[in-house]
């Protein structure tokens, strides 16, 4: 994101809206974006609608109000002068927007943002079959963002266990070699709002993978949201539950359910 210095009046509204908290006021009293930390999610641009006031008008109004010891308080979700500006992003910086902006459809997966289908279409794709477990390791969430150099560390640690990295996943598509988990060098210093490492393994290997994640998480300075999924048995029970409990972890009371209305239904064997 960029801020037009000629227009900005330093109201600070975009600072709070910024998902990464990386917009700040410079010495000149105008806002600026820390470009290293900005993930190009464009939330500030979309949420802070422009009131299209001329900057001179807002500044003059402020001066007049200050004479009476009053302040100018714009509504929370506006940019009074429309100073937020969408930049033209070139590779590899463009990867930030592809992962962080949900209005951008990923060219490889056809899913908006860093999203993946995981179990959402399992009824028609058979992505997870009987005996399979799916692990979704979302790095950078909630609210911290993640550099690909950290995402690579986790991917490489898990790759040692020889999982199947889901092909229709934006992180897998940035891997040089899914057997090692190595990610393209040119994107390693790019930061995204979050990115999901998605792997498939056998149910009985859940404890092994969680243990590996337990080890590598200490080397990462960001948050990781972890999810585990499986195809239900005929009676509706979830085979992954026993393995997660056996590994010593607690399952959330809430989660996501594919209710199986997709057609044609995937048939195993």
């Amino acid at each position: 994101m960029e801020i037009d210095k000629k227009k900005c009046v330093g109201c600070g509204n975009c600072h709070a809206v910024c998902t990464m908290g990386v917009i700040y006021v410079e010495e000149d009293g105008k806002s600026a974006v820390n470009q290293d930390e900005c993930v190009e999610c464009n939330t500030c641009y979309r949420v802070c609608r422009s009131e299209e006031y001329p900057p001179w008008f807002v500044r003059a109004l402020r001066k007049v109000l200050s004479l009476f010891r009053l302040g100018y308080l714009a509504e929370v979700d506006v940019c009074p002068t429309g100073a937020l500006t969408l930049p033209q992003l070139d590779w590899p910086r463009s990867v930030r927007a592809v992962f962080s902006d949900p209005t951008t459809v990923h060219p490889g997966t056809g899913v908006p943002g860093r999203g993946t289908d995981e179990i959402k279409t399992n009824d028609v794709t058979g992505r997870l079959r009987e005996g399979d477990a799916g692990l979704v390791i979302e790095m950078g969430r909630p609210g911290t963002g993640a550099y690909f150099r950290d995402i690579e560390k986790v991917a490489m640690a898990l790759a040692r266990l020889k999982p199947h990295f889901e092909r229709e996943n934006p992180v897998t598509q940035l891997m040089v070699n899914p057997e090692t988990g190595k990610i393209k060098d040119e994107v390693l210093n790019e930061k995204v709002l979050s990115a999901i490492i998605e792997i498939k393994t056998r149910l009985e290997r859940i404890p092994e993978f969680l243990q590996a994640l337990e080890g590598i998480q200490k080397e990462i300075d960001t948050l990781i949201s972890v999810g585990v999924a499986s195809r239900c048995l005929a009676d509706g029970s979830l085979p992954h539950e026993a393995w997660v409990i056996k590994a010593g972890y607690k399952l959330s009371p809430n989660g996501k359910t594919n209710i199986g209305l997709g057609r044609p239904l995937f048939r195993e064997g």
């Binding site: 929370v76 908006p112 909630p142 911290t144 949201s225 999810g227």
Partner: protein, 211 residues
Amino acid sequence: MTNTLHRQGISESLKNDYVIFAHTAKGITRDGSAPKLREFMRICLKYQPGNIGDGKQGNIHQDDIDIEKLIANQGDGAGAAAVFTDLDTLQKVVEELIRADLGISINISGLLDEVQACCRKAGIERHSAEHSLGFWGARDRLPEREILEFNTMCGHGMVSFNLIRKLIEHVKLRRLTPKKAAKIMAKCCECGVFNPIRAEMLLEKVKKGER
């Protein structure tokens, strides 16, 4: 909306929070999905959802969004979502979706046992399900629990910690009503999975100094 499964809160609060979404599979159900997604949205709309939208066009809490136009403009795409705050309504939506037999994948995020019971009541057994194993990594960077309850209601994490803090402060100072503050939060979440009704309930408690 990939990780609507990480919504935080006590069970009592999560009882008011169900996201139902249609999702299409590339190469299987995506081509020709436009009329099915439109029908999905029409069915959800009939039951007055707290939120409804899709990642491409936004949601009903954003400026200048006309839901009828949003539905009419729905093309072949990844999906659409709606939020409901009680199980009875969710039950009716699920039953109508079964009758409509759209052929696209339907998912529900919410309390897993309640969703399973809802499916059984409607005469179906759930197909697949996913649990959250919580937050790992640099846990010292987690915000306060109250902030997480709002932030995790957006599957893409678009409602920033700082905005939530600012809006809570505005509600406490009575500069904003809980309803208006919840609407601003919902505006940030493109896909329409943020639950402004639950957010408003949480903010009402903040206003009364109960949280």
